[in-house]
């Protein structure tokens, strides 16, 4: 056979990277994503006849900390059943030692792309609220994401907001976990192998200062990252940002952790107050602001009253003439 053309060589070599049919069940079809940890394939679950996402460790990373990260991610996801988190269906290890797991296949848009596509401020704020709810749910189960950023949030085809990439999530020791009525599933815990050497995990620009320094972090690291996300989304709008929202961002991204919101839930609650026209805790209002907020919140009733007053005045004047 004559020598294959470049395009065919490229294509075949790409297919060489596909993992084999896993457990005789998952047949990889194409690579749909690639990151530092590995690749995500669109695959077919032959047993159930459905499309799934198959995440496999990179071929040269089987024995690295990335392998532990992938296994950790699958275990973290398995204990987080929430509409904002993509569920894991299955997990295992390939013959060559690469870890893999299978999750629901979601086609959607990254949050940063979604924001740039012209989404309104109100919609973006509601998305941040949904992220906050999801992350707060994880915190309740003793899990800190540690790598929140727009690239790790996907907006699904039905408007669902999904928080992805839990590969560097930190599992708090039982005694550190926030109180909740939910008993966490058994999982290796205690020391954090991903930061045992004091190196920082996360994404510069989103990491809290203590996280960037490789120090111990708690849920306030996620508060900081979510504050940065909020700031970036607000910057997408050409309109001036209302002071209360600026205050929320400022509080969330305080360099000093004790000065931030204590939890993502608190941040979300403040954001909801603003959306509902209420005073936010992060912002001390002046009289004019309070008045304006009152007007904005009750604008329909105020407009009706004003209209009524104008009509009454006109009638009175008419009769007086």
């Amino acid at each position: 056979m004559s020598a294959l053309p470049d395009e065919a060589v490229r294509r075949l070599r790409s297919q060489l990277a596909l993992p084999p049919l896993i457990d005789g069940r998952y047949a990889p079809q194409e690579i749909v994503g690639r990151g530092g940890m590995g690749e995500v394939h669109r695959a077919t679950d032959e047993r159930l006849g459905r499309t799934v996402a198959l995440k496999v460790l990179a071929a040269d990373a089987a024995a690295s900390t990335l392998a532990e990260r992938l296994r950790r991610e699958s275990r973290v996801l398995a204990r987080l059943e929430h509409p904002g988190i993509v569920p894991v269906h299955d997990a295992g290890v390939l013959e060559d030692g690469r870890a893999w797991y299978v999750m629901r296949f979601v086609e959607g848009t990254r949050l940063d792309d979604h924001a740039r596509s012209g989404a309104g401020r109100g919609e973006l704020l509601r998305i941040v609220l949904r992220i906050a709810e999801t992350v707060a749910f994880a915190h309740e189960r003793g899990i800190i994401h540690r790598d929140l950023k727009p690239g790790n949030v996907m907006i699904g085809p039905f408007g669902e907001v999904l928080v992805l990439d839990w590969g560097v999530a930190k599992v708090l020791a039982e005694e550190d976990a926030p109180r909740s009525g939910v008993a966490p599933a058994p999982m290796p815990r205690g020391s954090d192998p991903l930061t045992a050497d004091g190196t920082a995990v996360g994404t510069p620009g989103y990491m809290a200062p203590e996280q960037a320094r490789g120090l111990e972090v708690d849920q306030r690291a996620d508060v900081h990252a979510l504050g940065v996300i909020l700031r970036e989304l607000l910057a997408e709008s050409p309109d001036p940002v209302p002071k209360p929202l600026v205050s929320i961002v400022t509080r969330a991204t305080e360099p000093d952790a004790p000065r931030r919101y204590r939890t993502v839930a608190e941040l979300g609650a403040d954001l909801r107050r603003w959306l509902d026209g209420e005073a936010v805790l992060a912002h001390r209002e002046g009289l004019a602001e309070r008045l304006w907020r009152f007007v904005r919140r009750h604008q329909t009733a105020i407009l009706l009253l004003l209209a009524y007053a104008v009509i009454r005045t006109v009638i009175l004047l008419w009769r007086g003439i």
């Binding site: 056979m1 004559s2 020598a3 294959l4 053309p5 470049d6 395009e7 065919a8 060589v9 490229r10 294509r11 075949l12 070599r13 790409s14 297919q15 060489l16 990277a17 993992p19 084999p20 047949a27 079809q29 690579i31 690639r34 077919t44 071929a59 040269d60 060559d96």
Partner: protein, 223 residues
């Protein structure tokens, strides 16, 4: 994206060292066929030779390697086979040109100093070229073997689909879909997905990996 190239298989290397003439001859033939194109490409690029000169030198290299049993000295415990072969090739080429006292360029019109060639060693493009041509060579041989296996059998439609879908020189966005190929070749297909009958095509896609170098687990490309 390209996958990392797999190792040369242990059994092929073992066949090189075997006392059986047939097995050893087959292994040498296989290596010569698989490495001929990358060796020619590397010689032409690195030593700045005309294609015909590079072909001649490659033939000399394989002839001498077989005559002097260079490949049987390969020790898998000390590294991969490809770098070993490259090392043999470099030594051979240097020796050839030292003997000649000069390097020919453009059919002998110019001369290149050895020091100039040493600089070319650092060119990462040479390594990429060698790997790309090695991949092309192995995959071409494997595809040919797969074609021979499938032609005239019940698997021929699968081969045709594989050939039309994967071995074409057109970009991905201009290739015919599986459904189009299935309709064209009269193979039943399930709408919207890779058809079950074409699972054979998927299998065929992986067959090149076991293709011409299927005499052992690590003699060519493996997953």
């Amino acid at each position: 994206m390209t996958a990392p190239l797999p190792e040369t298989r242990d059994t092929l290397v073992a066949a090189l060292a075997s006392t059986g003439d047939e097995a050893r001859g087959r292994a040498l033939d296989l290596i010569a066929r698989a490495y001929h194109a990358p060796v020619v490409a590397l010689l032409a690029r690195r030593w700045q030779l005309e294609r015909a000169d590079a072909e001649d030198l490659a033939q000399g290299f394989f002839a001498q390697a077989i005559e002097k049993d260079w490949f049987t000295r390969y020790d898998a415990a000390r590294g991969r086979f490809r770098p070993f072969l490259r090392s043999c090739l470099d030594d051979f080429a240097r020796s050839e040109f030292r003997d000649a006292g000069r390097l020919k360029r453009g059919g002998g019109a110019a001369h290149v100093a050895l020091t100039e060639v040493e600089v070319a060693d650092a060119d990462p493009g040479i390594e990429r070229l060698f790997e790309q041509e090695w991949a092309r060579s192995v995959l071409s041989l494997a595809s040919g073997r797969l074609r021979d296996e499938c032609t005239g059998t019940a698997r021929e439609p699968a081969w045709r689909i594989f050939e039309r879908y994967d071995l074409t020189d057109v970009p991905d966005d201009r290739r015919p879909t599986y459904a189009m190929l299935a309709a064209e070749l009269g193979v039943p297909a399930t709408p919207g997905d890779e058809p079950p009958r074409l699972g054979a095509a998927s299998h065929a896609r992986s067959r090149p990996l076991d293709g011409p170098l299927a005499h052992g687990r690590r003699d060519g490309v493996s997953r």
